[in-house]
């Protein structure tokens, strides 16, 4: 990244603009869908799905994760695993009790 040429940077800039427009569109979409007042489960799934796409765009292109070194991606995957454990296991504990 440090030694990228001006042409490469200009290509990146074009990508940033495309991503920006996509993020705006997705924001409008997610707000619009919320007015449909879907039932909770469907609403959560749709909203989180759209948020994940938006987040992935920011991470992949603004944060350059898509071309980032393996080491970093590995550390993040590890983090994701632990985050999922932190989310899932207490929920399991909530549902699985004795009486």
């Amino acid at each position: 990244m440090e030694h990228a040429s001006p042409e490469a940077i200009k290509k990146h800039v074009r990508t940033y603009v495309i991503v920006f427009v996509s993020l705006m569109a997705l924001t409008v979409i997610t707000v619009a869908i919320s007015y449909l007042h879907l039932d909770v489960t469907a609403a959560v799934i749709v909203a989180m799905f759209i948020a994940t796409i938006k987040g992935s765009l920011v991470a992949s292109y603004f944060m350059h994760l898509i071309s980032e070194k393996k080491l970093i991606v590995l550390a993040l995957i590890l983090t994701a695993v632990f985050f999922i454990a932190l989310m899932a296991l207490p929920l399991l504990g909530y549902h699985d009790t004795i009486g």
Binding site: L78, T79, F82, A85, L86, L89, P90, L92, G93, D96
Partner: protein, 603 residues
């Protein structure tokens, strides 16, 4: 001022951590000694003078030594010891805290909570990671310093601030935190103001830890010398590497929990307060709807990896000392490394074995029992490899080696006593009893602390250019070994009989405890004796700085790792020429070699 107080040199920072941590360890120990008086002799007036006098005398001795040897730092330590004596005197003389010389239960609770907090967060981890990690890791990877020296300096002072905040809570109305080091709500939500200060103190300490762990990981990944591949790293560095990941990823949920508890205490929220809570006959005027179990999940998500933070650096030190004093490579280096990595990973998914008694169903209980049993495997692999490393070795029974050797069976006892706690059926009987206290103290006291002593005796000559006295070292070792067993083994007995922990009267009012009550006095006397046996260590430590036997070379232990291939003490920047590494960390007794050791950076 800039050179020493706000130094950015990892060695100075390491020493700052060491001095602060040792003082906190001593303070935490003193709190426990006061508690043990109450447990052994309930209702008997405490000889406050004796308790205050001990740190007082040590302080005076340190001052004396500092005058003779003209060392300002020793004088500072002396003053701080006198400060501890002053704090003890202040507490013991307070008629509301010690009416007629007998500790009130609220103070007992407070001492219990602060003993745990101080020992874990202000004592052991800062010593194991902050002191040893900071001083040794950059040297062992062949780096001029840590990757972010300024951040390192900030880490230390944030820790120091956290310590000041924690200590200040003793002087508040209502005293220091008293809801256990575990701070379970609803109690901690409604506890006295000391709890709020505890939470702020924890925010400082967690911040310090996070900044430190980033520094360690980047240093180990990025600043390794040429030729120093990951599989050529000393085990101590691997241990610190995995430890740093544990600190990095496990602490934030506790920070989150701390924020939520602060909101509960200061902003009137009910994150951890269930609906309809009645306290002293009054319905609590909050919105309710919260979950006390939520705190437990968030707390133990950190606190379980935290125990591996306590043990891994210790295992690392033991590995270094054993390899050096057997004149052999560590047995099964690869197994040890993979086991350490696996242990680190598993440590994140076992936490609810601290929560078996919260009404868990069979599915989640089985999950956590299974992961807990699995995590014992890498622990055993590491311990076995360390023991097997002794086989066929040319053993030198130096003082660090004595501590490292004792670590092995002591950690074994600690680990084995953990097994019935990790299985729910037996945990039903043992949870929240003295058995638990005995278990974890075996791992931390004759386990980790012994390893830290080994490290202090081992690396002392590199830092000071003097050897610590072997005679005093042996007295320190044998006395501590016997006394620690005298304190913690009876706890296993009392726990099996069903004596609960955190009892002000040590179980005296319970019929099931009567048969084991006599152990209280045994344990307390052992504790007082343990304190006495630290005196030879302290005298040795400070006296030897100036008057110890001078080292004959930069590498008095004839060790292979890079920290011994520097001047003594290492200058700013550590290495006079950039080191290059040609071999693994433990080339001892290589066949065909003229000497019984070959340093990593020799061609």
């Amino acid at each position: 001022m800039r050179t020493y107080v706000f130094s950015q040199d990892h060695k100075i920072i390491g020493l700052q951590y060491m001095m602060t941590a040792l003082l906190f360890l001593f303070l935490g120990f003193t709190l426990m000694l006061l508690m043990r008086w109450q447990l052994a002799y309930p209702g008997l007036a405490i000889p406050g003078e004796a308790f205050a006098l001990t740190p007082g005398i040590l302080g005076l001795i340190a001052l004396l030594i500092s005058l003779i040897s003209k060392r300002k730092l020793t004088g500072l330590v002396g003053v701080l010891f006198l400060g501890i004596a002053g704090l003890v005197w202040y507490l013991v003389s307070d008629e509301t805290l010690f009416p007629e010389g007998v500790m009130v239960p609220e103070l007992y609770n407070s001492f219990g909570a602060m003993h745990g907090t101080i020992m874990v967060f202000l004592g052991v981890v800062p010593l194991a990671v902050g002191a040893f990690g900071n001083y040794v890791v950059p040297l062992q990877v062949g780096a001029p310093d840590m990757a972010f020296p300024k951040l390192n300096m900030i880490s230390y002072w944030t820790y120091f601030m956290g310590g000041v905040v924690m200590l200040s809570s003793f002087f508040l109305p209502g005293g220091a935190a008293n809801s256990g080091w575990t701070s379970y709500p609803p109690l901690s939500d409604i506890a006295t103001v000391g709890q709020t200060v505890w939470l702020f103190g924890m925010v400082f300490l967690i911040t310090s830890s996070l900044l430190g762990s980033v520094n360690f990981i980047v240093t180990i990944v990025q600043l390794r010398a040429n030729g120093l591949t990951f599989m050529r790293l000393p085990f101590f560095v691997w241990a610190q590497f995995v430890t740093s990941f544990l600190l990095l990823l496990a602490f934030p949920p506790l920070e989150a929990a701390g924020i939520l508890q602060l909101m509960d205490r200061l902003a009137g929220t009910s994150f951890f307060l269930p609906s309809g809570l009645v306290i002293s006959g009054q319905q609590l005027d909050v919105s309710g709807g919260g979950s006390p179990l939520l705190w437990q999940h968030l707390f133990w998500f950190l606190a379980h990896p935290e125990v591996y933070v306590l043990i891994l650096p210790a295992m690392g030190i033991v590995g270094e000392v054993i390899a050096n004093n057997t004149r052999k490579p560590l047995w099964g280096y690869r197994s040890i490394v993979y086991a350490t990595i696996f242990l680190g990973f598993m440590s994140f998914i076992v936490w609810a074995h601290h929560m078996f008694m919260t009404g868990m169903g069979t599915v989640i209980s089985t999950f956590f029992q299974t992961t807990t049993m699995i995590i014992s495997i890498p622990s055993v692999i590491i311990l076995t490899a360390l023991v097997l490393s002794l086989y066929g070795g040319s053993i030198r029974f130096t003082t660090p080696m004595l501590f490292a050797l004792a670590f092995l069976p002591m950690f074994a006892i600690g680990g084995l006593t953990g097994l019935p706690l990790g299985l729910a059926p037996s945990d039903i009987h043992l949870h929240d009893t003295y058995y638990v206290i005995g278990h974890f103290h075996y791992v931390v006291a004759p386990g980790t602390i012994f390893a830290l002593f080994a490290g202090l005796y081992y690396w002392y000559p590199k830092v000071t250019g003097k050897m610590m006295g072997e005679g005093l070292g042996r007295i320190h070792f044998w006395g501590s070994l016997v006394c620690m067993n005298g304190i913690f083994f009876p706890m296993l007995i009392q726990g099996l009989a069903g004596v609960s922990r955190r009892l002000y009267d040590g179980g005296a009012q319970y019929s099931h405890a009567q048969s084991v009550l006599q152990w209280n006095e045994v344990m307390s006397i052992s504790a007082f004796a343990l304190a006495a046996f630290q005196i030879p260590f302290l005298i040795n430590f400070f006296w030897s700085i100036k008057k110890g036997k001078k080292v004959e070379s930069d590498n008095p232990w004839e060790a292979t790792t890079l920290e011994w291939q520097t001047p003594t003490p290492p200058p700013h920047g550590n290495f006079t020429t950039i080191p290059e590494v040609f071999r693994g960390p433990y080339e001892y007794s290589t066949p065909g070699s003229s000497k019984d050791f070959t340093p990593q950076n020799v061609r």
